[in-house]
Amino acid sequence: MSTPPSGLNAERPLHRGRPATTRRAARRVRLLAILAVVGPGLIAGLSDDDPAGITTYSVLGARYGYRLLWVLLVSTIALILFQDLGARIGVVTRQGIAGLVRQRYGARAASVAIVALVAANVGTTAAEFAGVAAGAELFGLSRYAAVPAAALLVSALVLRGGFRGVQRVLLALSAVFVAYIAAGILAHPDWLAATRGLAVPSIPMTREAIVIATATLGTTLAPWGLAFIQSYAVDKRLTTGDLPYLRVDVITGAVLTGVIGFFVVVACAATLHPHGVRITDAAQAAQALEPLAGSLARDLFAGGLVGAALLAASILPLSTSYAVADLTGRPAALDDTPREAPLFYATFAGVTVVGATLVLIPGVPLVGVLVLTQVLNAVLLLPLLAFLYGIARDHELMGRFRATRAAAGPYLLAIAAIAACIVALGVSAIR
């Protein structure tokens, strides 16, 4: 479809050369505009620091000290690139990723991708509830009380909150991540070594190092986060005029995600790594911190874990609901009632109930479920990024907002880097 020449520039800066009071007023207006747009980037970014993410960062710091911090930097850049792309596509096309893939690549490709996304999201939701359980148990609460309570809380929020209510609670929940920054500072890290680890890339050529580097990339740039931000931007009814502010929101969210990851890594690198403490999950990291950095650091770490798990446990079923409703062409909006959008809410309930139940049934091989989930997420990520790239370059869909050939370079580079990581991982697994 052709796009006529437009005389009004959506991204034109405000007029220069006006009096100072007018400029101040313009700045205030711009700040208000940013605040009105805030949400998709912050929520989608920060929810990537979920229990699986915190675990990965903890293992990275405990096992390799500060050395692999650069992987986190690369992951953050990739997160900025693709979340910005997803949000932009959502705003311009008013469609989620599932609907667009169905339209551009066909019903089968979309269905395979969304079935994999649903399966991976159910597994990841179980991981989030497992994070709630582990965090609660650190405070002496039974998982049989904490997990159903968390599931009910999340469901009540989505059913009763409406778009604005949900967004406010999610943004408030995001504040728990400050706990990780505090825990990192309490651990008295070696800032010089941390800076060197961040700026100078190096990696031991071992299978374990490749696994943790790929896992860091995979946990930061999760398929569910990418699917979520696009649909959420659609649901928020952002317009192309909001795109500059949305970019600020996305960059802020991604940088905060990276900063929190950085403090988790340095907390573990400063305390657990010198003592050779091996951990396998975030709850163990919290416990291991206590004798080395004090009980406050332990409590902050555990509190952060519960908050992060709750945030992600709200986002994952939502991301799934958006994708399923979008794939099948059904209504998908938080301001719709369950009667108006039955599939949307049924999917939310289904994912929440199955995810929570998996954690509560004794004998369920949760570790196996989580490993399978990670594999599915890794397998799904590449085609999803390729779909996003293809859609962003499609003139019919994006019009004048299409990614130019020059702008497409960084995306291709990021896709190639992720593909290389996954191939290296595959090769090391075969050996």
């Binding site: 479809m1 052709s2 005389g7 009004l8 034109r12 405000l14 007029h15 019903a107 099948t328």
Partner: protein
Amino acid sequence: MEGLVSVAGLAGGPVATIGGSEVGRLVDVVVRWGSGLYPAATGLVVRVGVRRAFVHAGQIAQMTSGGVELNSVRLDLRDFVRRPGEVLLNRDVLDHQLVDVDGARVVRASDLYLARVGQLYLLVGVDIGMRTFLRRLGPARLRRSVVPGLVIDWADVAPFTAPGARVRLREPHQRLRELHPGELADLLEDLGRAERRELLTSLAPETAADVLEEMATGELIEVLRDAAPEEAAALLARMEPDEAVDALRELADADRRALLAAMPAPTAAELTGLLAYPEREAGGFMTPHLVVAQLSDAVGAVLGRLRAEKEHATDIDAVVVVDDDGRLVDDVPLFDLLVADTADRMETLVGPPWPATVDVHAGLEQVVDKLTGNRSSSLLVVDADERPVGRILADDILDVLATARGRRWPWQQR
């Protein structure tokens, strides 16, 4: 189901001559959005070896869910090149968004159905059912079976043009034009930029302006930015002034000036005058459209003046009566005018209760208090000399108060 052919099922199916020898596989069905309600297939795109050939509809002996039978063995093996106005059902319509005019909603096509009428195959329906979508994911046999699910008559569908088309090829849908502007605004807000623009340009200019008035300001600004400046200016000029001013305030100074310059001078002057009032004051959200009468005017003459203001009917619920100095005397409801004798003078209709007014610089809260306290459908806005300058309608205030809607927590509903 006999008689209906599934487009999704046909794709990839065999194309054979009457003798039964297969010549290729079906890629797509070509149609043109004509003025008729049910567009006819004009041909097929068939994969023959490595080529994609065009087969004219006249060569089709029959199409069934099992495949296509041709009445001729002669094929033009030149590669198919889409001509202007041609739409490929598989590529451009299936799995794409469409507007269900009857339900006033955006839907996604799970399948399309063709039916034979005489020598033509007409596109008669679109299936939006989930089961139909799932059926397509199964093996070929299941895919080709036609079990209609949630089918919408094609006459109730407004499709979009083929990608890259430079002109709109389908006549605007009659029933689309009959929808309420609010319903059309909701539809537009659910569509992507290109589709939104196409739907909007298919509407009559007056309807398009009414629809824009119903849209959220952010969405409206996006529509204006996507349009050429002259087109955006024409749309704004047709909108009610208070709504147009709301939109203009949101634009950058240079864009606002460009739009005002492209409008007819009187409209631009009126809007510029309104823009001078601060946004949160009565003058900033009033409509300047008033029907004003002198005390000595005859009722019949005033009724004639009202007829001339037909296009602003929704903004007029009373006639303002002023004295010789132009100062407000009364606001006479339309009902009183209707039941009065046409020979009567306006002064006979003047009397208590006197109309509620607000100062042009009154704040929103004061306006709401006055309107709710007075229980009237509108408030007159007057300047410091008690001269009427505009009117604030209750529905404008409703828009402001409606922002509280959607707050579902008890503490938000206060």
